[in-house]
């Protein structure tokens, strides 16, 4: 049915994005290059939470998935920015 199709597509996209994030973090050369990929994991979280919410329209798991996704949407950019700043300060201190 249509709902199963949407859930499958959203969950598959979320897991695929998360795998790409892990691949990028492992394969890139520099710490700042690796950091580019952790920012993208917010998209994977949003896709997976949307899949959980669509598969059961109103459940406690769906509610907590929305809470988790909202929290990660707010804290993800904060962590990436703080990490970039910390790496920059680390390199300045080394020089």
């Amino acid at each position: 049915m249509l709902r199963d199709l949407v859930v499958g597509a959203l969950a598959g996209a979320g897991v695929a994005v998360q795998l790409l994030v892990c691949l990028g973090v492992v394969l890139m050369r520099d710490a700042l290059d690796r950091l580019h990929y952790t920012g993208a994991s917010t998209l994977g979280a949003a896709c997976l939470c949307a899949a959980v919410v669509v598969s059961e329209s109103a459940s406690l798991i769906g509610l907590k998935a929305i809470l988790t996704a909202a929290f990660m949407l707010v804290t993800g950019p904060v962590v990436v920015h703080a990490t970039a700043r910390a790496i920059h300060l680390h390199r300045e201190a080394q020089r």
């Binding site: 499958g8 969950a11 979320g14 897991v15 998360q18 795998l19 994030v21 892990c22 973090v25 492992v26 710490a31 690796r34 950091l35 990929y37 952790t38 994991s41 917010t42 994977g44 979280a45 997976l48 939470c49 959980v52 598969s55 459940s59 406690l60 798991i61 907590k64 998935a65 809470l67 988790t68 929290f71 990660m72 804290t75 993800g76 904060v78 962590v79 990436v80 703080a82 990490t83 700043r85 910390a86 790496i87 300060l89 680390h90 201190a93 080394q94």
Partner: protein, 84 residues
């Protein structure tokens, strides 16, 4: 085993290379890998909650999201001060 649990298995398997990065590479790279691993583990717990139909696992995912954020900020303070 349904599709949700297979997704969780894939995400847990993706933690292994991140662990290798944490152990083998210098501190800035390790912190980046820890942040990626935190998000990965949160999503794996969410998939386990949906796959088994037990919503306490969703509580774990929510708590791990908060704790990994605070832990990342705490580690970053050390990376800033590190001179080697």
């Amino acid at each position: 085993m349904n599709g949700w649990l297979w997704g969780a298995v894939v995400l847990v398997a993706a933690l292994v290379p991140l662990l290798w990065v944490c152990v083998r590479l210098p501190a800035p790279e390790g912190v980046v890998a820890v942040e990626a691993a935190g998000v990965d583990a949160v999503l794996a717990l969410l998939l386990v909650a949906q796959g088994t139909g037990r919503e306490p696992f969703a509580d774990l995912a929510l708590v791990l999201a908060v704790v990994s954020f605070v832990g990342a900020i705490a580690y970053l303070r050390f990376v800033e001060a590190l001179r080697d």
